[in-house]
């Protein structure tokens, strides 16, 4: 062979994955050594950075689309791997989240009680997620997908002796298996009876729109359950908080995105054209998930659980955007489709950044105070200034406030909602604006939720000694958070850069892209046309900084700059009880009464002591999870009953067993007699 062998991008990516897996293997014998932790996490960070760069290179057109077939996996098929723009974009997400989490873990991992339950799985988990993104045939995809679930399960079970983890892990793995089955069926349809499991063959095969819709449904179940789409989300708020925080960051920030990758890959790329009527279900499901998720986040008193719920909200937002893209694409409106799709991808990127950041912050808090309960925190901004500042960045970003990145992507999404009148179908014309309203509601509630989380957790006065004696986290953790915070700010100020970067992926999926943003003045976003709508994160940022600092300077220069400290006034009734502050529960009360009572069946039970008694009066809040009560419990009950009934067959007499045999014989003979 004269043509010399050149390493393509995908080869490099696969090598990086192999290295990650090797790291995991290395951890099994050597993980106990103290030197192992920084080595493993450091190496993972580097490898993830490599993956990140590879993705960027492909998106920027520096490295061509590449593919590689390895002689493993399904024998007659081999395992196909490839790096096209879509994969590259998600490779960027995985690389970014993975690198940050690993860097974070160099410091955070020191506090891990049983490192041997984390170190072997962690790098392999990263590798598996990468493989999902790279896979180009059904079998490799599903193997990688399921291995990803399995390893994350092992990581969730790392703290297997803390109560609640067992149930979390069980529900998680069960839902993962359920999702995989749905994916199996979807791929079964895609492959057809001949069994062409290669993505290329699936893409090529003609398919009726009805069949495509069925596949879409199966994917919504399969990938949706992994991404946390309501009502398949119940495992998520259990499992994500249970894991070590750097793993939570990965699961919430990256793994849900990988799940969405599966959805996008199959629905937009493989399944073929869809009718418009397939999209409303997706849109409604996304909107409902968003509102339900953020409302639950608003009610949760556990810091990490609240973050997990907010992940559900963001997944809902993304799915809503994807549904819009489907609706537009089905009507041949490629430019709006591109807008919605870019919004989805952009939000995926953003959420990966700020949700990882927030979970890391939660991890620092957990280490510093040993507390996840918001009502046990408070005043951390004094004890952990850097963590608090970075958490603030994350909170502002996730609340979709300008000038940070969260707003940029939601703004794009609103723009695409505003294009809905051009849709021909009345049904969509009604649904889309309603969904837009729910989106706005979700955004507003998100702000409320994060004011609550940040205000109760970091501001005010410490509520426990643990919070009073918290100490700032180590520099690795802070560095990782700092990087992510920087990304949030930059992506908010220069959204055009990110959009141009992900344009190839958009083009590949919806056959259109946003106008090139790089040539716009002042980094302005111009999704459709200058006259229609524009937003310049850079200028807004500049204006705010200038005016705020300017006004501050003026005031201090010309008015007064004197300042004295005194006790809080509090309308003349200052109380030095830390519990007199508003807590997580009390902050949520207004919204709990307004929305929670309907959507979450929130009930307050107040027990008043009899007059004269000094016993405290108690208020207990009960929330109901409709999905849990409506779907899962009945299902479990049904299986239980059947199992109990079937179990009688274990306790028959031999004679009865014989009669079973005879019975089946006689019945088969009867079948024969009739069959003749």
């Amino acid at each position: 062979m004269r043509k010399d062998f050149r390493m393509s991008a995908v080869d490099l990516a696969l090598l990086a994955v192999a290295a990650l897996l090797a790291l995991g293997a290395y951890a099994i014998p050597f993980g106990r050594q103290t030197a192992a932790r920084p080595l493993i996490y450091g190496a993972s960070a580097m490898l993830c950075t490599v993956l990140l760069l590879l993705g960027v290179a492909v998106l920027a057109g520096q490295a061509g689309v590449s593919a590689r077939v390895l002689p493993i996996g399904l024998p007659w098929l081999g395992s196909h791997w490839g790096l096209d723009p879509l994969s590259a974009f998600f490779l960027v997400v995985v690389g970014m989240g993975g690198a940050a989490a690993s860097l974070f873990a160099i410091g955070y991992g020191r506090h891990e009680g049983e490192p041997m339950r984390v170190l072997p799985f962690y790098p392999a988990f990263l590798g598996a997620m990468t493989l999902v993104v790279l896979a180009q045939d059904a079998f490799s995809f599903l193997v990688a997908w399921e291995v990803m679930s399995l390893l994350s399960w092992a990581l969730v079970m790392a703290h297997h002796r803390t109560e609640g983890t067992a149930q979390a892990g069980y529900v998680y793995l069960l839902m993962a298996g359920f999702g995989t089955m749905a994916l199996l069926l979807a791929f079964g349809l895609l492959a057809g009876p001949a069994g062409d499991y290669g993505f290329a063959a699936m893409r090529a095969a003609p398919r009726s729109t009805t069949l495509a819709a069925v596949i879409l449904g199966l994917m919504m179940v399969g990938a949706g359950s992994k991404a946390g789409l309501a009502p398949l989300h119940v495992w998520l708020p259990l499992a994500h908080p249970a894991a070590p925080s750097h793993v939570s960051a990965l699961m919430s920030g990256v793994m849900t995105k990988v799940a969405l990758y599966g959805l996008i890959r199959v629905v937009f790329d493989l399944a073929g054209p869809l009718e418009w009527w397939a999209s409303p279900a997706v849109i409604v499901m996304g909107a409902a998930t968003a509102v339900l998720g953020i409302l639950s986040a608003l009610m949760a008193t556990d810091l990490k659980r609240a973050l997990a719920y907010s992940t559900i909200e963001n997944v809902g937002v993304i799915v809503l955007a994807l549904g819009l893209a489907l609706a537009f694409r089905a009507n041949g409106m490629t430019a709006p489709a591109a807008l919605a799709f870019s919004a989805a991808l952009f939000h995926i990127f953003n959420h990966a950044a700020f949700k990882s950041l927030l979970f890391m912050g939660a991890g620092n808090v957990l280490v510093a105070t040993g507390q996840r309960n918001l009502d046990a925190l408070g005043g951390l901004i004094h004890r952990m200034p850097v963590t608090a500042a970075l958490m603030l960045v994350g909170a502002v970003a996730i609340s979709a406030l300008p000038p940070l990145n969260g707003f940029a992507s939601e703004w794009l999404l609103f723009q695409s909602v505003l294009l809905s009148p051009d849709l021909p179908q009345a049904g969509l014309q009604i649904i889309v604006p309603a969904a837009g309203g729910m989106l706005a509601l979700a955004a507003a509630l998100a702000a409320a939720a994060f004011v609550r989380i940040y205000g109760v957790g970091f501001l005010g006065r410490p509520r426990t000694d643990a919070a009073r004696s918290a100490v700032e986290a180590d520099r690795f953790s802070l560095a990782a958070m700092g990087v992510l915070g920087l990304i949030c700010v930059l992506a908010g100020i220069f959204p055009g850069v990110v959009l141009d970067l992900l344009a190839p992926a958009t083009e590949a999926m919806v056959a259109a892209r946003l106008p090139l943003q790089a040539e716009q003045a002042w980094q302005t976003l111009v999704p459709i046309a200058e006259a229609r709508s524009t937003y310049s994160g850079l200028l807004v940022f500049a204006f705010i900084t200038i005016t705020s600092s300017g006004s501050a300077w003026l005031v201090h220069r010309f008015a007064s700059r004197r300042l004295s400290r005194g006790p809080a006034w509090d309308c003349g009734f200052p109380s030095n009880l830390a519990n007199s502050q508003y807590g997580a529960g009390s902050f949520a009360q207004p919204l709990r009464r307004v929305l929670g009572s309907i959507l979450l069946g929130a009930r307050e039970e107040v027990t008043m002591p009899p007059p004269g008694s000094t016993a405290p009066s108690r208020m207990i809040v009960r929330l109901r999870d409709w999905a849990w009560e409506g779907i899962y419990q009945p299902l479990a009950a049904a299986i239980n009953t059947v199992a109990t009934q079937a179990n009688r067959l274990q306790f028959l007499t031999i004679r009865r067993y014989l009669s079973l045999v005879v019975g089946s014989l006689v019945s088969l003979l009867l079948v024969l007699t009739i069959w003749n």
């Binding site: 274990q650 306790f651 028959l652 007499t653 031999i654 004679r655 014989l658 009669s659 045999v661 005879v662 014989l665 006689v666 003979l669 009867l670 024969l672 007699t673 003749n676």
Partner: protein, 220 residues
């Protein structure tokens, strides 16, 4: 073959079915064992008749096995077991004898219908013979299912084996290997049952399976 030979074979095979029925309505173990001995004798007769008309001398061996083992040794052994262990003498049935009889009728009817309709191709005699054999097998099963205590179940099982032998001999020129295997299996079956009765007796005074079945794998 000539008419008379056919009729005799037919008679004997039918007789076997009849004896099976007799076994079903026995109420005392000893009587049951005697009837089973008769069952074996009839089988031996039919087999040897087959040997005669098929000019297959090796079938006489089978007949002999049937006669010696099933008609004499085993009933004797079971008699001794019953005596030694002082098993209460009556057969405990699950459903009334009448019902069992009806079920038996049904089974026989089914097997005959099945066979006669199935095997137009095979020669008439083999067909008749198979029909009877199938009925004997099914009746044996029925007996195992409707009897409570082990001896009668064992008897049912053996009558089932008899049915098999009837079928085997009915099939023309079936190699010796099969008969040997049948005998072999019966032999093994008895060794093992013997072993089991023995072991079981070490623990319980009765071989009534009911006693065994208190414990069924997992405590309920």
């Amino acid at each position: 073959m000539d008419r008379i030979a056919f009729d005799i074979a037919h008679l004997l095979a039918g007789g076997l079915v009849l004896v099976s029925f007799m076994m079903i309505y026995q109420e005392r173990l000893t009587a049951l064992l005697n009837v089973f001995a008769m069952h074996a004798v009839v089988l031996a007769l039919s087999v040897s008749w087959q040997a005669h008309i098929q000019h297959a001398p090796h079938l006489y061996v089978t007949a002999a096995i049937a006669l010696v083992f099933k008609a004499m040794i085993i009933p004797g052994a079971l008699h001794r077991i019953i005596r030694r262990m002082g098993i209460h003498r009556e057969v405990e049935t699950v459903v009334g004898v009448g019902l069992t009889m009806l079920a038996g009728m049904g089974l026989v009817a089914m097997s005959i219908v099945l066979m006669l309709r199935l095997t137009e191709a095979a020669d008439t005699f083999a067909r008749e013979d198979l029909a009877f054999a199938l009925s004997v097998v099914l009746l044996g099963l029925l007996m195992m299912v409707t009897r409570r205590n082990a001896v009668s179940q064992v008897v049912g099982f053996m009558s089932l084996e008899n049915g098999l032998i009837l079928a085997a001999t009915g099939a023309k020129g079936m190699p010796l290997v099969v008969e040997i295997s049948v005998a072999f299996s019966v032999l093994i079956a008895f060794i093992v049952i013997g072993v089991f009765l023995f072991r079981i007796r070490e623990r319980f005074d009765t071989i009534d399976l009911g006693a065994l079945e208190e414990y069924r794998g997992e405590n309920q």
